[in-house]
C-alpha cells in the first residue's frame, strides 16, 4: 500500500510539476516571441512576416504564427536555425536552445484545441 501511495504521490507531483513547467515555458516562450518575432509576425498589415504568410497560404492557414495549431517544436527550430525565405537564421546569442524550446512551447500551445 505504501508503495502504491508513493507511486501515486510521485505521479501527482510529476503531473503538477510538468504542468507548472509547461505553463512557465509557454509564458517564457511568449516573451521570446515578443522580443524576436513580433516585429515581423505581429497582427498588423505592416509586418512583413504576417503579410508573406497571408500571401503564401491564401487563407488556408492563419497568417499569424500565434494562431496556428499545426506547428511543431521541430519545425519552429528548423525555421529559427536555418531561416526561411528572406528570414535569416538566429544565433544562440540571440535565441538560445532553452529559449527556442520555450518558443516551441508557446507556438504549439493551441495544438489540439
Amino acid at each position: 500500500m505504501r508503495t502504491l501511495i508513493s507511486i501515486g504521490l510521485f505521479l501527482l507531483t510529476t503531473f503538477f510539476t510538468t504542468n507548472v513547467n509547461a505553463q512557465t515555458a509557454v509564458e517564457r516562450g511568449e516573451q521570446v516571441f515578443d522580443t524576436w518575432c513580433t516585429a515581423c509576425h505581429d497582427d498588423t498589415r505592416r509586418t512583413p512576416g504576417t503579410a508573406a504568410l497571408a500571401a503564401k497560404y491564401q487563407g488556408a492557414l492563419p497568417a499569424l504564427l500565434e494562431e496556428r495549431t499545426d506547428l511543431t517544436p521541430a519545425i519552429i527550430e528548423l525555421w529559427v536555425r536555418n531561416g526561411i525565405s528572406i528570414m535569416p537564421f538566429f544565433r544562440k546569442t540571440e535565441i538560445n536552445d532553452a529559449q527556442l524550446a520555450d518558443l516551441g512551447a508557446y507556438l504549439t500551445r493551441n495544438n489540439g484545441n
Partner: protein, 536 residues
C-alpha cells in the same frame, strides 16, 4: 562547414579554444559545425560553395575586459578575429567574416544602454544594443529624445555606424558615424583606447568628438583597426512637429532644377531627409506603353507627353520638416514658393504630426523611421506578397555615391541601367537616389540571391563587379558593400597608385602586426596575409 584559421593547425586551434573557454566561459565559445553555421551570411552570394566566407568558431564576450582577453589569446595563436554587433548587416555581409577561418567575436551579449541624456541629448551604448532596445529604453524612461534608425530596427547603432550606416530624420543625425561623440576601442594588442573627451580621465562623452590631436575615429569604421566596445551618439531632441510636403514636377529635365532647390533647402538646415520618387512609373511593374517608350529610347518630349497623359507628374520629392508647428508650416510655404519657379510644379500638403504622440498614432504613421520609430517594414519589399509571389532568398546591395545633381542622377540611371539590361536584370530607368546620408546621394539597387540556383548568384556578382568598374570610370564609388566586393571597390579608389589603400595598410601593419583584426575588411589586408596569399 567550419574551417580552421589559415596557418593554424588543429591542435593549436584546440589549445586556443581551451584558452578562450577559460577566459569567457565554455558556454560562450561556439565551435561545433552546427553552432558555427549560424555565423554564415544568410544572403551569401557564394552559399555552399568553396569560396563562401565561413568562420572557424565564434566567441561571445560580455565585457570589454573579455574582449581584451580574446584579442590577446588570438595574437598568441595567430587567429584572425571578425567582430559583429547584432549581426544583421544583411545584403552587406551579414554575420560572416570577411576572411574565411576568422573567429567571429559576437558582441550581442554586450547589450547595455549605458546612458541616455535628454538634457544634453546623447546616448552611450554597447554594440549588442539594437535600435529596438535603445528605443524601448528611451520610451520606458520617458526621455524626450529621438533616435535616428535605419530601415531594419534589429540592427545595432554601433554596428550600423561602423559600416557608415544611415537613417531618415534630420541633417547629420542621418549619418550615423558622423553622430559619433566618443568611442571605446580594444586595439589589436589588447589595449583600450578612448576617443573624444573620453580620452580625458573623467571626461564626458556625448558632445565633442575630437578631443585633442588627430582624429583617429574614422579608422574604426569599415576597417580593421580595433573592436569598438562602447560608443556615444548625438541624439535629436523630440520636436513639436513633423510635417511632410511633396513637390511634383512634370517634365524629365525639371529634375535638374528641383535637385538644386532641394540642395539649397537641405544645406540651409530647413528640411530633413528628401525622399525622391518618380511619378512616371511608380512602384512595381511598368505600364507596357511606358516600358516600350523606354525600350525604344524615347525622347524627353515623348516621355514628358506620357507623363502629362498619366496626370501623375514625372518626379516627386517628399520633404520632411521638423520643429515648432508654425516653423514647419512656414518652411514648407517657403519651399513651395522657391520650387514654384519650375514651370508647372505642383504640391501636396501634409500630413502634419505633433508630439508627444501616442503609440497607436506612431504605429499608423506613414513612414515610421522618419520619426525615429524602429520597425521591420522594409522587409515587405523582398518578402512574399501578392505583388511578389516568388521571392528571392536574399539580396546584395549595390550602393554608389553620386554627385547631388539631376545630371548625375541621369548619368547613374544610364550607366547602371545599361549593365542591368545587358545582364538580364530588371532596372527602373527612372530610379532615384536615396538621400540617407546628409549631403550625399546614393544610387542603391538590390541584386537577387538564391540558395539553390547558383546562376542567379553568378549573374548578380557579375553585374556587381561590372557596376563597380563602370561606375568608377564615371566618378561614382560604392559607400558600402558585401565583403566579396571590398577589394574591387578599393581597387577603384585608385588615385595616385592606390595610395588610399597603401596608406591604410601601412597603418594596419604598424598597429596590428599579427593581422588579427578583420583581415580584408574595407579591402585592407595585413602584411602576413598579403605575403602568404600573394596579394599586391
Amino acid at each position: 562547414m567550419a574551417t580552421l584559421p589559415p596557418g593554424v593547425d588543429s591542435s593549436s586551434f584546440e589549445s586556443a579554444l581551451t584558452e578562450f573557454r577559460q577566459a569567457i566561459g565554455s558556454e560562450w565559445v561556439f565551435s561545433s559545425d552546427e553552432d558555427v553555421a549560424l555565423y554564415r551570411d544568410a544572403y551569401s552570394p557564394t552559399w555552399n560553395e568553396e569560396t563562401e566566407l565561413v568562420a572557424s568558431a565564434a566567441v561571445a564576450p560580455e565585457t570589454t575586459e573579455q574582449v581584451q582577453d580574446i584579442v590577446r589569446i588570438a595574437n598568441r595563436y595567430g587567429i584572425p578575429l571578425y567582430p559583429i554587433s547584432t549581426g544583421k548587416n544583411l545584403g552587406y555581409g551579414g554575420s560572416a567574416p570577411s576572411y574565411s577561418g576568422s573567429m567571429v567575436v559576437d558582441l550581442k551579449r554586450m547589450n547595455r544602454v549605458i546612458e541616455v541624456d535628454d538634457r544634453r541629448n546623447f546616448a552611450v551604448v554597447e554594440p549588442g544594443v539594437s535600435y529596438f532596445d535603445l528605443y524601448r529604453y528611451i520610451q520606458e524612461h520617458d526621455l524626450k529624445v529621438w533616435i535616428d534608425c535605419p530601415d531594419p530596427g534589429w540592427g545595432s547603432p554601433i554596428g550600423n555606424a561602423l559600416d557608415h550606416g544611415v537613417g531618415y530624420t534630420f541633417g547629420s543625425y542621418r549619418d550615423h558615424f558622423a553622430s559619433n561623440a566618443g568611442m571605446e576601442i580594444v586595439l589589436p594588442d589588447g589595449e583600450v583606447l578612448r576617443t573624444g573627451m573620453g580620452a580625458l580621465p573623467g571626461g564626458e562623452w556625448g558632445e565633442y568628438k575630437y578631443g585633442f590631436g588627430p582624429s583617429v575615429d574614422g579608422l574604426f569604421a569599415q576597417a580593421n583597426f580595433g573592436i569598438v566596445t562602447k560608443m556615444a551618439f548625438r541624439l535629436m531632441p523630440e520636436p513639436d512637429a513633423h510635417y511632410t510636403g511633396t513637390a511634383i514636377v512634370h517634365r524629365r529635365q525639371d529634375l535638374i532644377a528641383l535637385v538644386d532647390h532641394v540642395n539649397y533647402l537641405d544645406d540651409s538646415g530647413l528640411i530633413g531627409m528628401p525622399l525622391w520618387g518618380n511619378r512616371i512609373s511608380g512602384f512595381g511593374p511598368m505600364d507596357p506603353e511606358l516600358a516600350a517608350l523606354v525600350e525604344n529610347g524615347g525622347s524627353d518630349a515623348e516621355l514628358d507627353a506620357y507623363a502629362a497623359r498619366s496626370g501623375r507628374g514625372f518626379w516627386s520629392v517628399q520633404l520632411q520638416f521638423y520643429g515648432p508647428e508654425p516653423t514647419v508650416q512656414a518652411n514648407w510655404e517657403y519651399a513651395k514658393q522657391r520650387i514654384s519657379s519650375i514651370e508647372g510644379a505642383t504640391f501636396e500638403d501634409g500630413p502634419l504630426y505633433t508630439f508627444p504622440m501616442s503609440d497607436e498614432d506612431k504605429a499608423n504613421h506613414h513612414h515610421r523611421v522618419a520619426i525615429g520609430v524602429p520597425n521591420m517594414e522594409i522587409f515587405s519589399i523582398g518578402a512574399r506578397s501578392e505583388r511578389n509571389p516568388s521571392p528571392q532568398d536574399g539580396h546584395l546591395w549595390f550602393s554608389a555615391i553620386i554627385p547631388r545633381s539631376g545630371e548625375a542622377i541621369f548619368k547613374a540611371q544610364e550607366v547602371i541601367g545599361k549593365i542591368w539590361k545587358e545582364e538580364g536584370l530588371p532596372y527602373n530607368a527612372f530610379a532615384t537616389p536615396a538621400t540617407w546620408t546628409h549631403r550625399c546621394y546614393i544610387m542603391i539597387t538590390g541584386l537577387p540571391i538564391s540558395r539553390t540556383d547558383k546562376s542567379i548568384n553568378e549573374r548578380s556578382m557579375r553585374a556587381y563587379n561590372r557596376a563597380i568598374e563602370e561606375c568608377g570610370a564615371n566618378g561614382m564609388g560604392e559607400y558600402r558593400a558585401p565583403p566579396q566586393f571590398a577589394d574591387a571597390i578599393m581597387d577603384a579608389y585608385s588615385y595616385n597608385d592606390n595610395i588610399y589603400r597603401r596608406y591604410a595598410e601601412k597603418l594596419k601593419d604598424a598597429t596590428d602586426p599579427n593581422g588579427i583584426i578583420a583581415p580584408g575588411r574595407g579591402g585592407i589586408w595585413p602584411k602576413n596575409i598579403r605575403d602568404r596569399e600573394g596579394r599586391a
